[in-house]
Every structure is written in C-alpha cells, then in structure tokens.
Amino acid sequence: MNVSTKSILLASALALASPALAAAPEGVALADDQTFTYRVLDEHSSVDPQIVEDVSGSEIVRDLFEGLYNQDADGNLVPGVALSHTVSDDKLTYTFTLRPEAKWSDGNPVTAHDFVYGWQRLADPETASPYQWYVEVMGLANAGSVMAGEAPLEELGVRAIDDHTLEVTLEKPMTYFPLTTTHASTFPSPKWVIDEHGADWIKPGNIVSNGAYVLTEHVPQERSVRERNPMYWDNENTVIEKVSALVINDENVALTRFLAGELDRTEVPAGQYPALKEEYPDTALSFPRLCNYYFNFNLSENGPEATQDVRVRKALSYAVNRDIIVENVLQGGQSPAYTFTPAATAGFEQPATDYSTWTQEERNAKAVELLAEAGYGPDNPLSLTYLYNTSEAHKKVAIAVSQMWKQTLGVDITLENQEWQTFLETRGNHDFEIARGAWCGDYNEASTFLDLVQSSSGYNDAAYSNAEVDALLAEAKSMDDPQANYTRVEEIIAEEMPIIPIYHYAGVFMMNPAIVDSWPVQNVEQNWYSKDLYKVAQ
C-alpha cells in the first residue's frame, strides 16, 4: 500500500467513527424543487446488482442498493451498511461490522446473510452474471472453483458470523480489498423477493432494495424513476426527493433539452465545450476521469513485421502531438497521456517517462531518427492500417494522428472503421495492425489499468508479453507500497511501447448550477450517489 492509499483507508477509518452527515451543509438555502433529472445515452442493462454491467445501470443500482462501503465526494471510503472492519494478522480475513438499523424497503433488516447471498449469487454459474469474474478481482477464497461450478457456493470466501457480522476470507493478501466493496455487483440481494418473483423481481412494484431510493417507474428506452426510500437508515439526511434518468440517444438533442430546462445534467457533445463554457461559465464543467485512450500495436504473430521493431513503435508514439489532440481536436479538458495509468488514479504518482519531459520538436526529431534507423524512409516508406470503431470522435483523433505521422515521418496510414461488434471481434482476434483501445478503471487503484498489459489479461489486445512486467504486477498485489513496481511497469511501457498512450479522459458536462455545489467532481470514478446531492436555491 502506498502513502496515499493508506491515507484513504485512514481517512475512511476516521469517517467510520464520525456520525453520519446530512447531505447539505448547514446554512445552505435549499431549493423548493428537489428533483434531479439527468440524461443517459442508452437504456440501462439491468438494475439487478449482480447482473448490471453498464455505467448508467450502475448509477441507478448505487441509489437503489447500498453495499458495505460508499464513496464520498473525493472517492474515499465511507460507511455504508458496514460501520467498520478489522483485518486479521495474516491479512487474509476481513471482519465487517454491519449497521444494525439498516433496513430493506419492505422493513426487513439488512443482515450479513443478504451479503453472503448476493456474493454467492454473483459467483454462481447459474446466475450467469457478466460480472461473475469480479469475485476473482476481489480475491475471494475459492472464487475460481466456485465460478467453474466445481465447488459448492458455500465454499466462497464469505460467511455470516451473525446477523451483523460478515467475515470475508481472501485467497491471498490484497491490500486494496476494501476499495472493491463499493462496486454494484457486491451489493446485498433480498433472497425472499428473488425467490418469490424470479427474474421479475427488479420490476417496479416487486423490487425491494436497501438504498436511499426505490425504483418506482421504468419505461424502457424512455425513463426510469426512483424515489425516496422511507426505510433507509439515513433517510432524514437525504435531500433529493426524486431522480429521473431520461434516455436520450442523441447528445445534441439532449443539449437542446438541457437548455430548455428539462434536464439537470447532460454530456457536452465533442468539440462544443469551449463555446459552451464561454456562454454558460457556471454550467459547463470539465473534470478528470479515470479512463485512458490509447492505440494498440499488434505484437502477435499476425501483426505487421514493421511494428515488431521497438524503434518503429517508439517513432510512431513520439510523433503524436498529444497537445494538439487534446487542445484542438477534443477541446474538453482532457489531458495528454505519456503513461498508461491516468494521473488522477488514487495513490498513483505518475512517473515522468523520458519522452514526456521532451518538447514536441525533440520528440519529432527523435522519431525521425528512430524510423530511419529501423530502415524506413523515402526509399522504403512505411504504410500501416489503423482500425477504430465507427464514431465521429474516434474518427477525428484518427485523422489527426494519421496526419501527424504523414507529416513528421512520411508514414502512410490507411484508416479503417468497423461497427462496434465487428471491431471487437477483429481486435480480439488480433486481426489488425494498429487498433484503438480505451479503458475506464473498475476501482480506483493503478492495477485496474496496469493489469491490462499482463500477458494473461483478456484485454491485452496488443498481445504484449514481458515476464518482468508480469512479475512486478503479481508482486504488487500484496505489497504495502506498490508504487515502485507501478513506476517500473510504466517505464517498461515507455521503453517498449506496446501501446501508444494518447490522452486521459475528462468528464465534460452541462450541469444545473443549483446542483453543481454538491456534485462530486473530485470523484474520478464518478461514483455519485443521489442521496449526497442537493439543489440550492438560486
């Protein structure tokens, strides 16, 4: 564990002792209307905690259900159903003390058994959850064999000591384990409701949940509405009465409806942030997100010969003027990337990779030199294909980068775009030369990114394999301070350049000024909870 992660856990330990705080600070004049209406791009996949897999679904699930811990506005852990936990000396056993007053929306108490049921349900092959693998990310004992159906569910490393004590056993020590308990798939589930209604248990009218809100309306592809849960243990400190998620596919239409006052929050369409910021300075917001955007080289045997040469990979990476991409192409407050892991990641000190300290002229000069060394030039021009999934924003980046490569290095790039599913298949089969990649962290710790460059990672589309990287990352799991390992892995990535980091994301929103004060802009995972929001009188 590094210093900052330690401080997070320390801070959370302190928070565990303090009494629950009201969402709105004292002295703030609240608006009469406390409804929050926001736009989502697409219909959510599910509101079942163990089934949900998309961001907009998880946002709803975080309001409807509550797990062991929540996150505060800065992304630190604060008590949810769990008041606190203790760790055994061998760092394998975590014992959580649960809040005795926590209730389900039907009045039943929330017990440790509900968590055991939820986690077993997640691991159960019968549930067929797309997030089943999360029990392995959490490092629960026997996760692998339970997932495969080889061991009974009871063998999973979680059990109820009594109604309000939950004991978790890990396969091996993993210092960031508590951070994984804010994920929607770890929330408790009401067995009696699922037994009664089966797959229909998450429909309004049937659903019973333990969060600050209950689902009251759901019209697919139009809206879903959640309203205050009077049984919620902290209901008296909750301010927002009603939250509506409206499905609006077209971001420009969503912006129009925001400007007409129908929405409190919507995304800013690509490229429109500077103009909107000028016209609506209090409404247009940009803040760092826990996501990266990069290009994969294909290092598998299907890949082109040219990019097997590290000098070619470095030349192509150096010749990308990232400042132009973020300032002139994206224009939404994104930051240029010279490391794989975003700087915003908690407890991660971004190492200064060598090329990040150079000027673009120096990078270009070095790129030209490296490419010539590798034997490519006017007599032997390099041509490659760049593959991305069909989207205006990706196209803009692709065109800009291919121009940079053409002008600086004389490299000819053929741009190819494919519809999403076809793209995933092509890229997954390593049937490309260079392909777009992007990743948003599952939890706020550098391993959620760096694990992707492990040889065994399912998302290692570059087919990159480096024994030292694998060893460093494996070792980092149980280290108190893995920063040195992370720094070394980033250095290796910069030396071998299996991927080209392009930029780190920003969340770019139009937000009703009444709600901006309570919006957790510092939470880079953007795990927000409606119970912590409030609207101030304007």
């Binding site: 697409d42 697919p220 592809q221 239409v253 129009t256 409806r257 599913q421 990743w439 399912g458």
Partner: protein, 307 residues
C-alpha cells in the same frame, strides 16, 4: 373472393417461415456476439452465459428451439442486452407506442396528403397546384433526422410550447412532434401519387364522356374519378402503414418515445439475437398481413384483379 383470400394466406405462412430462417442465419453469421464487450469475458464466464441462453447449442438446434418457443408458447425469448426484460415485454411495451403515433401519422398523411393531391390535380397549374407541389417536394427532401431536431429546437427551446421528448403514456403534447416528423414525408408521397393519378384519370375517355354528358364537376370527381385514382395510392398505403406503425429508429431515438423502432436497429448493433428475431417476426408478419389486406382491397375496388 374467399378462395382468393385463402390462397394469399397459404403463401403468407411459408413466406414468414423463410424470413425467420434467413434472418436467424444472417444474424448468427454476423461477426461479434451479444456478450462481446470492451474487455472480453473470461472463457468460464462466457460459457456460463451462453449455456444460460442456449447459445452453446449448434445453430440448427437453436433455430428449432426458437421456432418451437414461438409456435407452442408465443415466447420470443429473453433480451441478452436488457436483462430485466423479455422480448415479449419489449414488444408489449414498445409496440403500443409506435402503433399510437403511427396510426395518427397514417391518418394525417392520408387526409392531408390525399386532399392536397386532389386539390392540386383539379386546379392543375394554378397557384394551389404550385403550392402543393412545392410543399410536397420540400417535405420529401427534408429527411426526418434533420426535421426532428429542428422541431425540438423551435418548439421546445425557442417557443417553449412542447416537451422535447419522452412519451409520458402518450399524452398529447408528447405525440405532436413525433407525428409531424414521421408523417411529413408519407404525406408528401401520398399527395404526389394522388395528384398524378388523378391527373391521368381526369384525362381518360370515360371522364370526357361524363363531362360531355354535362355532369357537374363534383359528381365527376367524387363518383367517377376518385375510385380509379386511389388504386395506385392504395398499393402504396400497405407498406406505408406498416412502416409507420412499426415505428422509426429516428423518431424513437430522437424523441425518446420508447417505441420498437429503436430497439430493432439497436438489437442489430448489439447482436441481441432474440430481440432482433422477435421484431423481425412482428414487422414481417405485419408487412405480409397488410400487403394481403391491400391485395384484398384492390380486388374489391377493381374486380379485374380477381381474375
């Protein structure tokens, strides 16, 4: 007449079956699958999910099971993407929506389009004709994906008269813009078809005879010219009706109406096989049904067809 109808029905059923089989095969052979995502699922997880939905079976078995589910229980299976709902749920929720705004659009398109076409034909080369032709050409070339956002801009943002989207159980103010955006191009087609058909009929010998007899214009138009005029229009109305009541991807996605049009296109992108097939069945059977209705209407209007 009865044997004519029976003959049509006996062709319709195999047509539908062939449609389903071809769609099923096409969909399964498209690259990608319903459970691909940015990070591929671990093989164990994918295997569990595929087993749950029967996707681990050979294709012929899946197809047979699928058809069996439809025939025996009218069950179109679960959605792979929207896991809280079955395909039956999606159709039950979305089809009434598209039916609602589609029927209104259809009525509007016939009444206004037909009236405009007839008026233009009767007063050919007058200002009314030029006006009608101008309007219809304009309406036909303005695609609804351009018109819909403009409507929202004008009526929601500038004037503040109408909500910019949503359905709200079909409340009238949520229906107006989808209806305008959907019906305009159909209206224009109907107007142009009616106009040209009417002009042709008005030049024919039997109308000249009627005029020679000294019949008033009103009687000529309504009693003699109208029936032959609407024949080509009727053949257009069948597909147009199906097109409108099964919704539109553009309308559903821009106005967030929750209709089946959006689900259909999106299901193809998501490889949500069951939703895709269920909606293909719905659209296919409606298309076949209404083409049949048109044929029957045709035969009824024009006895020559029955021969």
């Amino acid at each position: 007449m009865l044997s004519f109808i029976l003959r049509r029905v006996s062709i319709a059923i195999p047509t539908l079956l062939v449609l389903l089989i071809i769609s099923f095969w096409l969909m399964q052979t498209a690259p990608g699958g319903p459970f691909n995502s940015e990070r591929p699922l671990p093989p164990q997880v994918l295997a569990n999910i595929e087993a749950k939905y029967g996707l681990d079976q050979p294709m012929w078995k899946q197809m047979v099971d699928y058809l069996k589910g439809i025939i025996t229980q009218f069950d179109f299976g679960p959605s792979y993407k929207y896991k809280d709902r079955s395909v039956n749920d999606i159709i039950a929720q979305g089809f009434p929506v598209t039916l609602h705004y589609g029927l209104i659009s259809f009525m509007l398109a016939i009444v206004i389009g037909g009236a405009l076409g007839i008026a233009a034909a009767i007063r050919q080369n007058s200002w009314l004709d030029y006006f009608a032709v101008g309007i219809t050409i304009g309406a036909q070339v303005l695609p609804n994906f351009v018109m819909a956002p403009i409507l929202i801009l004008v009526f929601t943002l500038w004037l503040g008269w109408l909500p910019g989207g949503g359905w709200n159980g079909g409340q009238w103010d949520h229906v107006i813009m989808p209806v305008i955006a959907l019906s305009t191009s159909y209206m224009a087609s109907i107007a142009r078809l009616t106009r040209s058909s009417m002009l042709e009929v008005l030049r024919s010998n039997f109308i000249r005879t009627a005029r020679a007899k000294g019949l008033p214009d009103r009687v000529i138009i309504w009693r003699h010219a109208l029936k032959p005029t609407i024949l080509p229009v009727v053949s257009y109305l069948g597909p147009a009706f199906v097109g409108m009541v099964t919704g539109s991807f553009i309308i559903d996605s821009i106005f967030s109406t929750g209709g089946v049009g959006y689900f259909y296109v999106n299901a193809a992108f998501n490889r949500d096989y069951a939703v895709m097939m269920g909606l293909t069945f719905l659209l296919g059977s409606m298309t076949i049904l209404f083409n049949m209705v048109v044929d029957i209407l045709y035969a009824w209007i024009d006895p020559k067809i029955r021969l």
